[in-house]
Every structure is written in C-alpha cells, then in structure tokens.
C-alpha cells in the first residue's frame, strides 16, 4: 500500500516536472541577443514598422482619435472564446508602460511572447506573427515607441475564465502554434517577398482573417478565408482572391483610402487598420495586394 502511494506520488511528481519543462518560457538565445545589441536603431525607420505592425489599432484608448503620434495607453477590450483581453499600456511611461524596458526585453516580448519578468503573454498579442520579424525592424520599432507620448494609465486585468487565467499553460500553446515558418512557401519576386513579410509578420492580417481552431490556434489550411467575428455579430471577410474578387490595384486603393471598389467605406475594426495602412509607402500596399492575389 505504501509502495503504491509512493508510485502515485512519483508519477504525479514526474507529470508536474514534465509539465513545468514543456511550458517553460524559451526566450531569444544569447547569439540573437548579441546580434540585437549590436544593431544601430533608427526611430524614423521604426515609425514605418510601427504603422505596418498595427500597434496603434489595439493599443490606443477605446475612443482615441487618429493621431500622428498616438498615445499607447491601452484599455481596449477584445472579446474572444476564452474571455476578454484588455490591451495594456505600451507607452514609454516607466511605471505603467514599457518605458523601462531594454531592447532585449522588448524583443523577447515581440518575438517570443515573453514578458520582462519571464511570463508568457497571451497570443491576443500577435507575437505568433511578429516572430517572423527582422531584428532590425524590432530594434527600430522599439526606438520609435520610446519617442511617443507617455501615458500613466494603469493596466486593467484581463477578464478570463479558469483555466485560461494560468499563463504557464501557454507554454503548451506555443509548442503547438508558435513557428517562424512562412505560410506562403514560394515567393518568386521581391514584391511578393515583401508582401509576405508584411502580411505574415508585421501586419498580422491572419490574426483576424484566418479562422481559429478550438485551442485558439490559426487554422493555416484555411489561410485568409475569414470566419465568424469573435468580438461580435457578423463575419470577418474571406480575402482569398476568388472570394474577395478585387484586383491588386483595388486592394491597394482600399488600403489607402478605405473605399471598396463599390465605394463603400471601411468601418469596424478594419477602419483603424486602413488608417495605419494609409501611412505606408505605396509600394508596401501594392506588395500586400500582390501577396493576397497570389493566395490560392
């Protein structure tokens, strides 16, 4: 009887250790951090990365007006199947924002979804797209965000149900879904390569336009095919070429002006996305359009 109890205890202990091992945060390795530290960061280049990455769309206050230099005080609420996530303050305020962060801490957040204190972030923060971002872009983005206005808005807690309140389990989610592989494997032209970088890494289009499975991972077999809107009624549109039916030129014009080919005007969450996309170079909007047209 005592041996049985001991065996159960050993097995349970073994399971706990295995869980602990599998769910451990895995930050950037030393060589990557060294390469990152050696980079010269340019906030002007970072501004372009900022708009391409759509940071403001989620991290400004709920009713914030469009601004050249947005205040990233957080507070917007995102309803999902797992509960509601509240976007945090990522302004350069040292108490409530990310003002005290090192470049390495910023990169671990962006590229690995790990906080400075070593906790997993929830993938509502699209690090599963940003993982494909170039180190130079991450360094530049960090430099730009440091120039933005500070906000002393305190962070609100996410509104999640058990067991999603336990961040440690996200280590398993990352094992399943966090990959820096590209979804579009072949990019025969520089424009397509740029488009892929923007769509799959920085602009994280798939986060909304690709349906998710029951564990909240992207169903890459239905890449950009849209699906039910997790945050309300209606559907996120399918933007594959046959379903969308827009030419590359029409897509690029839409991302610039918000006008669809039928001269409807973007609304909802896409309106904020378009406002950011309108600030990109025209070549970048054309590259995104080329990528979307190349999906099969």
């Amino acid at each position: 009887m005592r041996r049985l109890a001991l065996a159960v205890a050993v097995l349970a202990g073994g399971a706990a250790v295995t869980f602990w091992w599998l769910t451990r945060p895995e930050p950037l390795d030393a060589a990557t951090l060294e390469a990152l530290a050696a980079l010269e960061a340019d906030p002007a280049r970072g501004e372009a990365v900022f708009w391409a990455s759509g940071c403001a769309a989620c991290h400004v206050e709920p009713e914030a007006e469009d601004a050249d230099r947005p205040v990233l005080s957080g507070g917007q609420r995102f309803e999902t199947a797992f509960g509601a996530f509240i976007a945090p303050n990522i302004s350069p305020d040292t108490d409530h924002g990310i003002g005290g962060w090192t470049r390495a801490e910023f990169a671990n957040a962006m590229l690995r979804g790990i906080s400075p204190s070593g906790q997993h972030y929830y993938p509502a923060f699209p690090y599963s797209a940003y993982i494909r971002a170039k180190l130079q872009d991450v360094a530049d983005l960090h430099a730009f965000i440091e120039t933005l206005p500070e906000s002393n808005m305190p962070n609100a807690a996410h509104d999640l149900g058990f067991p999603f309140t336990l961040r440690r389990g996200l280590g398993l989610w990352k094992r399943l879904y966090l990959t820096d592989d590209w979804v579009m494997e072949e990019v025969p032209t520089p424009e397509l390569e740029r488009g892929r970088y923007l769509v799959e890494a920085l602009s994280h289009c798939a986060e909304c336009h690709t349906p998710r499975d029951r564990l909240g991972g992207l169903n890459t077999a239905a890449w950009m095919e849209g699906g039910p809107n997790p945050s309300g009624r209606g559907r996120i549109p399918d933007i594959t070429p046959d379903e969308l039916g827009w030419s590359a030129e029409e897509i690029a014009l839409y991302l610039d002006s918000g006008f669809t080919p039928h001269f409807d005007v973007a609304g909802g969450t896409m309106a904020a996305v378009v406002r950011a996309m309108a600030r990109l170079e025209a070549e970048d909007r054309a590259a995104i359009a080329a990528y979307l047209r190349a999906l099969d």
Partner: protein
C-alpha cells in the same frame, strides 16, 4: 373573454412572427439602404479622381458633390425606427448601439452633412481642394461605420 384571450395571444404571436419574417423588406430599412447606395453612386465619381484612377473633371466632381450635399439633407427622422437593428431583424447591419445613443448617432450624421457641404464648396476648385474634402467625407462615413455598423 377566456376564449378571446388565447386567440388574441395567438394573433399577436402570428403578427410578431410575420413582422420578423418580413422584416428584411421593412420600408424604412430599404429607404435608408437606398440612400447609402446613392451616396456610393456619387462617391464612385469622386473616389477614382482622388485615387488617380480617373482624370479630374471639375464639372463631374461638382455634380457629384452637389448630389451628396442634397442627399445628406434628406431628413433621417423616419429611416431609423426602433426595432430595425441587426439584433432584431435580418437584412441590416445597423447595430443596436445606434438606439442606445441616438444623440451621438445624429452628431455623426451631422459631421457627414458638414463634410458634404464643405465638399460642395470646393469640388470644382481643382484636385488639391478636392482631395482633402473627399478625405473628410470618407472619414465621416468611417467614423459612423466604426461604431454603428456591424462587420459583414
């Protein structure tokens, strides 16, 4: 009395059912959707000009802007009856939020009217005047779609 009450309830139920079933042809909903189609019909002249897809034509721009000015003067009073939101009926993307804050909804329509008036004033004055005015109009559309229209 005791007979008529269930009959009344049944009739009321049928009426409610019929109303719900026919709701996608609610004349008020049709009217407001037609109005938005007419907005788009005129934006289809101005949009391509500012996008560089169509050469600037002062007369065509002015005509479209005049139309938008007059279209946005149409009184909205009977176009938005209670119960014509997308939670109550099919065939509309109008969010219940409209009726939760009618003052703000009206203010946003007012911003559209102001943008259309500004546009009417400058549409014939060349591309440099047209571009920001169309931008302002598009911004007024988007501001309302942001809060009061559901995703498709």
């Amino acid at each position: 009395m005791s007979l008529r009450r269930p009959l009344f309830a049944t009739t009321l139920g049928l009426v409610t059912f019929a109303t719900a079933a026919l709701a996608d042809t609610d004349p008020a909903v049709e009217a407001r959707q037609s109005q938005f189609k007419l907005f788009a019909h005129n934006l289809a002249v101005l949009g391509p000009m500012v996008q560089g897809q169509m050469e600037y034509d002062a007369e065509a721009a002015q005509t479209a802007a005049d139309n938008l000015f007059h279209l946005t003067r149409h009184d909205q009073g009977r176009m938005w009856p209670e119960g014509t939101d997308n939670a109550s009926i099919d065939g509309t993307r109008a969010l219940p939020a409209i009726w939760e804050d009618l003052d703000d909804f009206a203010a946003k329509f007012g911003a559209l009217q102001a943008a259309a008036e500004n546009l009417q004033g400058v549409a014939g004055d060349g591309m440099d005047a047209l571009r920001p005015a169309v931008g302002q109009l598009g911004g007024a559309c988007a501001a309302c779609h942001d809060d009061y229209r559901s995703e498709r």
